[in-house]
Symmetry: C2
Subunit: 374 residues, 2 copies
């Protein structure tokens, strides 16, 4: 049994935080932050209202229980959205020398509540790591949860640049990419890229309850993509949506107006004006999706090549190995399964300039190509 | 220069159709059907209102031009939705011994139009291959376009089982899986699994036009999935949607009613009843997406393991090779790119019973795991 407060073997590796870091809330995010910081040799103090959750996270190596005299440089509040402001306020009072951050999905509400309550927001700055919404609990925690993910640091005028830096240090120490953004901009952004898409996906998936038996056997990649995130946890999402309702509602209200125009057109699709309304809706969708940045933040369009393989991991591996060997860079890939056939359908994306050579090289080696387009 | 009507070297391979097969419309679907049947040694007669499109498809080896005395056993009408019924009617009259099918996305309308016009629908049966909507034109045609894809054969009471069999033969000869379904059931099914999701994806993507610059940098896999098919071709989709408006409209009208309840809840998210309305909406989405069949038609849920790799095709190939070597079957996989970091994020799906062993084996070999959940 090792002393959980002792520096780990990795303690001499490059890190920004000095520690100790106090993490309040030993769920997925809190425990993952603890694991990541422990790997860097930071002294992590864990706390949780549930002694069982705390003991479990300590067992997993995410940190140590609190002790008298702990003097954290940073407190990370990783608790459910509805109690964030209250816990942050308590931590600011309990640790008058520490900077306090939280990792909740909505950023304006807690800051406003704290400002109104007279809390010392000169030591508070919210943040939001874009990772880990798939499940919950310390047993799912991973030190690598945040690697390569954006971590929004939601700055405001009441905290100095110098004090805020410790939160950027946290993000960098756990492998994330810092994205500075003020709280309102963050909340509007996640309304567009996370909360409204979640509700739209959910609303479409809910309609599938009424689909006749057998009709879902025709489901292809499209409806699967649209409804994938509808499998998300209701309990967590109700809190997130409620906390950001002010930003989500206008986006969905505009969508409802657009939907009403579509319903009008569907009511008499050959009436003058209806084809144009549908065409303009489709074109607007084209323009919207084109705004999403691609790999590494580019908005470059890619060519697609659809390759048929035997439905075994070895075959897909062989395909990717071959693509690597001929020096073509894979920008993206998707896997489809064909119902009732032992065929795997692999869609690979490459830069358009490489599409023709990829097709020729694959065919030259006997791969079967079902489609290719730039 | 070989005679394009001569049997190909593959002419002795197993096939069901005798031929000739006349394909009207030398676009993506028509030319792909031609290529697939030519590979089986079937005599394919191509026709198109555009002499240039016809010549191009013939050049690609999809068939030969029409000649006097052609007596097709089967005519495949592969033309835009708005002219399907007229072309089918003409082909029925021109080829009184042939069965005629079409491959359009909507099946009730053409049959009703033909029935009303007094056409010989004892020789017509519509069909719908679920493939190839990504792009258009004969230059994109591929013999393998239909391999492993469902091909709906939309039966009705006016055609005998015996006569309809030739359309099943067509589907099987090009490698597809036959799905028998009456026209109204088909049209209702595609409203749920294709047309409504297309419009929902489009409506969400259209909203992204109004997102502030920079906010889309936070886009993760969720919004990308939801809006992926919003990149579809407006011209084609306006015709498909108009042709199936009667089935799509009720689905979207129900969705609009659900959306109105969400908007009400967002208006005062902490008012009594609002949290429950949001929770019920989320739960309804959970139940809907659970109805979608998984790989090979099962509805089994899979465990997810998220692995971090260097962002190279060789690394992904090595991961899949390793998974194959330890005897774990890959049920699905997705690739994510992390903005601004040279990290690839690979989410692999396996049966839940294999999750723990996969994680242990991967960690034992030094792979980095960012998340795992069953």
């Amino acid at each position: 049994m090792t002393d959980p407060s002792a520096p780990l073997p990795g303690a001499d590796i490059d890190r920004r935080l000095r520690g100790p870091v106090r993490v309040v809330g030993a769920g997925l995010l809190g425990a993952s932050i603890g694991l990541a910081l422990r790997e860097k040799g930071v002294d992590v103090v864990l706390d949780d209202v549930s002694p069982a959750a705390l003991a479990l996270a300590v067992d997993y190596g995410a940190g140590r229980p609190p002790a008298a005299g702990d003097a954290p440089e940073l407190v990370v509040v990783a608790v459910p959205p509805d109690v964030v402001a209250a816990v942050v306020e308590r931590e600011l009072a309990d640790h008058p020398d520490a900077v306090v951050t939280d990792v909740a999905s909505v950023k304006s509400g807690p800051l406003e509540t704290l400002r109104a309550s007279g809390a010392d927001i000169g030591r508070y700055i919210g943040s939001h790591p874009m990772a880990g919404r798939e499940r919950s609990g310390p047993t799912a925690a991973r030190a690598d949860l945040f690697v390569g993910r954006p971590w929004v640091v939601a700055g405001h005028d009441a905290i100095t640049y110098h004090r805020a830096a410790v939160v950027e240090d946290l993000a960098l120490d756990v492998g994330a990419t810092v994205v500075p953004m003020d709280p309102a901009s963050h909340d509007l952004a996640v309304a567009y890229v996370s909360h409204a898409p979640q509700l739209v996906s959910t609303l479409m998936a809910a309609r599938l309850r009424d689909a006749p038996d057998g009709s879902l056997d025709l489901a292809g990649g499209g409806v699967r993509d649209v409804t994938r995130i509808a499998a998300s946890d209701p309990g967590l999402w109700v809190q997130i949506i409620a906390a950001n309702a002010g930003h989500i509602r206008p986006v969905l209200a505009d969508l409802r107006d657009d939907l009403d125009r579509v319903l009008d057109a569907l009511d008499a699709p050959h009436r003058a004006g209806a084809p144009r309304a549908l065409a303009e809706t489709m074109a607007a969708g084209n323009r919207g999706v084109e705004r999403l940045p691609g790999k590494h933040g580019t908005t470059k369009r890619f060519a697609q090549v659809v390759v048929l393989v035997d439905d075994t991991p070895g075959q897909i591996a062989a395909l990717l190995t071959f693509i690597g060997e001929i020096g073509i860079n894979l920008e993206d890939m998707r896997l489809e399964h064909s119902p009732g056939a032992p065929i795997g359908i692999v869609e690979v994306s490459v830069v358009p300039e490489q599409e023709q050579r990829l097709v020729e090289e694959l065919e030259g080696r006997g791969w079967r190509i079902a489609a290719a387009w730039a």
